[in-house]
């Protein structure tokens, strides 16, 4: 009676994605399968130096000896690695002539997010001429960064223009043999982003992959490397709130951050990839390895993430606190709806003295989804006076979804202080009714309640991102209470 809008909402939000991508065979696409020849092909296509080819091949050999891990609390059919094409020239996305050809659901979501028409066109791959505006913005932006000595470019460009930096840092935080997917990425990564902030420079703007429009569509094996030299600061934004449709089911990215002495890196992610249909069919598998190294004393790395998309999310942005007094932070909101599965959390590895870490994880489960927090706090023998505070909250929207917490704590130094708090609550019918009784719609009520719950994390996002993320949370959970 009271929620008569429900059916309408449901019909809209649960509507199946109508526009199946018909993949035309690209001329510039490698045949399916993975072997040394394919890796040589990728390296050659990208005109890479010999050392990088060897680096890839070694990763490939390591990968061949590894088996796909199974410890995460997720269920899926394992990808057939020989059925994937590992190289396709960029810009192989389907092009449209006008926005009218775009999936109306996708457009509706973008409109709700307040994304401008131009941006909508760009994101959905509509051929446009006035992207020129954005190009000029990006250009002046790049000039400004260059004046400060900041390097912000695609990984391919960095390999050519700054080989000494790439050679020095690539794979130093996440070794090629770190895990199955990191090894795979190291062997076949096609592009990604590179960012270097020189000594003492405070990057004056948020660095966002938004601005790298020329290099959009970096594909399924993305590689990101951010280096903050002594005393520098950078805030980096990854992803965007607009729904990302992708033909590639498997995404195995690697993100490495390095903070030198007195440097700070703030890395924010909003991930909203296609979650699949109501049963999770066709959604993206997001198996990403993200790790930051607080190399120098007094350095700081802060991960903030809002995860609403993908059929399966499997990621643990971590901090290795090597420098004395270094600080690691992890703020996360992970939403799962329908048949989505997420196993996400962080690892805080304390090595230096007086290191401290904070973990705030907010899981929201709806539909029949499963949402797990998995976190490791490791205090090594050398880490005198290390501190950690962890808080893991779960919010359940229905009575048939799941929330799980797997905290691991390893302490090898007696001076450590480790605190862990966890709560699980169900979104209250009473809370919603209270809001309705004050005149708010159900949609608005859920949005308020969920955003209130996730506030601690959303507050960590850069302002404009935070506002979009708030709307995104509301949209992801429309009509999901039950």
């Amino acid at each position: 009676m009271a929620y008569e809008g429900d059916e309408l909402l449901e019909s809209v939000t649960n509507k199946e994605y109508e526009f199946g991508f018909t993949t035309n065979i690209e001329t510039d696409k490698a045949p399916n399968g993975l072997n040394e020849d394919i890796i040589r092909l990728i390296s050659a296509k990208k005109e890479e130096p010999e050392w990088l080819l060897q680096w890839r091949l070694e990763a490939f050999h390591a990968w061949q000896k590894m088996t796909e891990p199974e410890w995460a609390h997720v269920k899926y059919t394992k990808p057939d690695f020989q059925a994937i094409s590992y190289y396709a020239a960029p810009k192989n996305r389907q092009k449209y002539n006008s926005l009218d050809e775009i999936d109306p659901e996708l457009r509706r979501t973008m409109e709700k997010l307040g994304i401008s028409m131009e941006e909508q066109k760009r994101l959905s791959g509509v051929a446009v001429d006035f992207v020129m505006d954005s190009v000029s913005v990006a250009t002046s932006f790049k000039e400004k960064l260059a004046e400060l000595g900041i390097i912000f470019c695609s990984m391919s460009e960095a390999v050519k223009e700054h080989p000494e930096l790439i050679k020095k840092y690539l794979g130093t935080v996440i070794p090629r043999s770190d895990n199955f997917y990191a090894a795979l990425n190291s062997a076949v990564f096609t592009d990604g982003s590179f960012c270097y902030i020189p000594k003492g420079v405070r990057c004056p703007m948020e660095l966002s992959t938004y601005f790298r429009i020329n290099e959009s569509g970096t594909g399924q094996f993305e590689r990101t490397l951010v280096v903050a030299d002594e005393g520098s600061y950078v805030s980096y934004l990854e992803g965007c709130t607009a729904p990302q449709r992708d033909e590639n089911q498997l995404h195995a990215a690697v993100v490495e951050l390095i903070a030198h002495k007195d440097a700070e890196i703030k890395y924010s992610t909003v991930q909203n990839w296609y979650p699949g249909d109501k049963d999770g069919k066709g959604g993206v598998f997001n198996f990403v390895t993200k790790r930051g190294l607080c190399e120098g004393n007094n350095s700081k790395i802060s991960w903030t993430q809002v995860e609403t998309g993908s059929a399966i999310t499997w990621k643990y942005p971590s901090c290795v606190l090597k420098g004395d007094n270094s600080v690691g932070e992890f703020y996360s909101v992970a939403v799962t709806n329908n048949a989505q599965q997420a196993d996400t959390g962080t690892k805080m590895i304390h090595i230096g003295k007086n290191t401290s870490s904070t973990i705030i994880s907010k899981g929201i489960s709806a539909g029949s989804s499963n949402n797990s927090y998995r976190g490791l706090v490791q205090i090594n023998k050398s880490a005198d006076n290390a501190r950690n505070f962890s808080q893991c909250d779960s919010l359940l929207m229905t009575d048939h979804c799941g929330a799980h917490t797997f905290p691991y704590i390893e302490v090898k130094n007696k001076s450590a202080k480790v605190e862990h708090e966890a709560t699980t609550s169900k979104i209250g019918e009473d809370q919603i009714f209270y809001c309705l009784q004050r005149g708010l719609s159900e949609e608005k009520a859920i949005s308020l309640i969920v955003n209130g719950y996730a506030k601690e994390v959303l507050n960590k996002l850069p302002m404009e991102f935070a506002i979009e993320a708030q709307k995104l949370l509301a949209i992801s959970l429309e009509g999901s209470v039950g």
Binding site: M1, A2, F433, L436, Q437, R438, G439, S441, K444, G452
Partner: protein, 253 residues
């Protein structure tokens, strides 16, 4: 204002309201009393549109409209306000943002212009004084960490902000000490007007010393079995409900 005819409602398989008749005219204050389990809070919830109650018969008209056909939020926007017996906490949502969102919906529905930030704050300032609500409470999360008395004052504050035509107070006096009771009652009294009606649900006559009703009704087994003026409340205070129960049973026999 409000006209209830032969209302039947049940929750799960249990019938709670069994042919309730009740009318409230503009500007009137009606008190509803009755022993535990007589259906007082059910009546409040049913009027506010809570989903878990199933209406099995009867009609309710509110300002000439079919109340039962409206969703809970429509009822609120039309001017029906329920001061909850147990106001819920909404962590992370500031009281002020909550009210702003609510007031904006309500004003839009009523065809009133939206308030500017300045006007809104002035209104908050004015109305929070009605219930002596500390300025800090308006900035805290909705009801989170509020004492029992603060929660009830906050309900009356919200009521004042949303300017309803019919306010239902569901045991607003429960859990209040005498000072808090006086503050809440003063807030309510300040809002009494020829256009606004109140339905005050209470267990105790005490509240009615402060909010003096025009009529007092006794609800028993889902029906109004006795109506009178404020003297009836005094009589109930003195004699309890047993004599009424006996009267009802005798009439049914």
């Amino acid at each position: 204002m409000l006209e209830i005819k032969n209302l039947h409602a049940r929750v799960e398989e249990k019938e709670i309201l069994r042919g309730l008749n009740f009318e409230v005219k503009p500007g009137e204050v009606h008190a509803i009393m009755g022993p535990n389990g007589s259906g007082k809070s059910t009546l409040a919830s049913v009027l506010a549109g809570k989903e878990e109650y199933e209406i099995t018969g009867g009609e309710v008209s509110f300002k000439g409209k079919d109340l039962l056909a409206m969703s809970a939020e429509e009822r609120a926007r039309e001017g029906l306000f329920l001061a909850f017996q147990y106001p819920v906490e909404i962590p992370g949502v500031s009281n002020i943002n909550f009210l702003k969102a609510a007031l904006s919906e309500v004003r839009e529905h009523r065809g009133l212009p939206q308030l500017t930030a300045k006007e809104f704050l002035a209104l908050v300032n004015e109305k929070s004084k009605l219930v002596e609500l500390d300025g800090q409470l308006t900035n805290r999360s909705v009801n989170e960490g509020f004492s029992g008395g603060e929660k009830k004052r906050n309900e009356v504050f919200q009521m004042a902000m949303l300017d309803p035509t019919l306010a239902i107070l569901d045991e607003t006096d429960s859990g209040l000490d005498i000072d808090a009771l006086r503050i809440v009652a003063n807030g309510v009294n300040a809002m009494r007007s020829p256009e606004r009606s109140f339905v005050v649900i209470t267990h105790y006559q005490r509240l009615l010393d402060f909010i003096v009703p025009d009529y007092v009704h006794v609800l028993y087994k889902g029906r109004i079995v006795k109506s009178g003026t404020k003297e009836l409340a005094l009589e109930l205070e003195e004699r309890g409900y047993d004599w009424i129960k006996e009267e009802v049973e005798a009439a049914n026999a």
